[in-house]
């Protein structure tokens, strides 16, 4: 009996960790591509509606644009820029994997290239985009 118990225990301990797929760079870039794609889609929906206000009156359009100029929406806009930039760069990577003969071999290197270019473009952009918000929040009013 004791012998059988020990055997079962060994089986339980050595059982495979399940069938959940856990990929590496390739899976996470796919997840991020999907999430950013959905985010951009919903923003586009809102953005076409807010821009349509130019057909209503200059005043209603200017009022919606004033909300875009607040620090909070400024912060969300950084998120939007980041989402679009990642989706665009990774979309180029996906297309290269599909059409470039060596694409699959270099998919991991291209992933790191995407991230490098992403950071390189995001840093100066965020610096520029937030200048006004910083002045508004912390600047002197003189």
């Amino acid at each position: 009996m004791a012998c059988l118990d020990a055997g079962l225990e060994a089986i339980v301990v050595q059982a495979p960790a399940g069938t959940l797929y856990r990929g590496r760079e390739g899976m996470w870039s796919w997840v991020a591509h999907r999430v950013t794609g959905v985010l951009i889609f919903f923003f586009l929906f809102a953005h076409v509606l807010d821009t349509a206000l130019v057909r209503v009156s200059p005043d209603s359009y200017n009022r919606i644009m004033d909300t875009y100029k607040t620090p909070l929406v400024n912060l969300m806009e950084i998120g939007l820029l980041g989402a679009v930039l990642f989706h665009a760069l990774n979309g180029l990577r996906v297309t290269a994997i599909d059409f470039w003969a060596k694409g699959t071999r270099y998919q991991k290197q291209m992933m790191w290239a995407v991230l490098a270019v992403f950071v390189l473009l995001m840093v100066p952009s965020v610096y520029r985009m937030t200048a006004h918000s910083f002045a508004e929040l912390f600047g002197s009013t003189s």
Partner: protein
């Protein structure tokens, strides 16, 4: 007689012969199909959708990143955007064309992307149907509204 239904299930005792319907026929291994991506309806829609995602993506890199660069980074960024700014831009056929192309490509690209995602996660037929109906309705409205706004913009609204 054992038949195989459309979902690939074996139905013991069924009287349906596999070759009652072309879609149910199982070719012998390594039989070459005329067109590798052909689906049951005889169209290559999914292949064209796949190619469209890549081609539209390529164009959108320039259109969308250019748009964001001009609107968020150039000159005063978003702080300078108002009715007069829009009036100035849409007085030029170049920017009208840019925005129209960007609208259509992004909306169609995004709609097909969401269609894929619905197909992946919504398993019940009814759920898929209603989610896609909602998706196509929303996309249609956005395309019509956006196109009308670009073409019927009236700078004289400012008086």
């Amino acid at each position: 007689m054992t038949a195989i239904d459309a979902t690939g299930n074996m139905t013991p005792g069924s009287t349906v012969q596999p070759d009652d319907d072309d879609r149910l026929r199982i070719e012998s291994p390594r039989t070459r199909r005329k067109r590798p991506t052909q689906n049951g309806r005889g169209t290559n829609f999914e292949m064209y959708a796949w190619i469209f995602m890549r081609m539209s993506g390529l164009l959108l890199v320039f259109l969308v990143l250019g748009h964001l660069f001009i609107m968020l980074l150039l000159d005063g960024g978003v702080q300078r955007i108002n009715f007069a700014f829009v009036a100035g831009r849409w007085s030029s056929p170049f920017w009208q064309t840019w925005d129209l192309l960007q609208l259509w490509l992004a909306q169609l690209h995004g709609t097909n992307g969401l269609r894929w995602i619905i197909n992946d996660y919504a398993e019940r037929d009814g759920t898929r149907f209603w989610l896609k109906t909602l998706l196509y309705t929303a996309s249609f409205l956005v395309l019509v509204l956006g196109t009308l706004v670009i073409f019927t913009f009236d700078p004289d609204l400012a008086g």
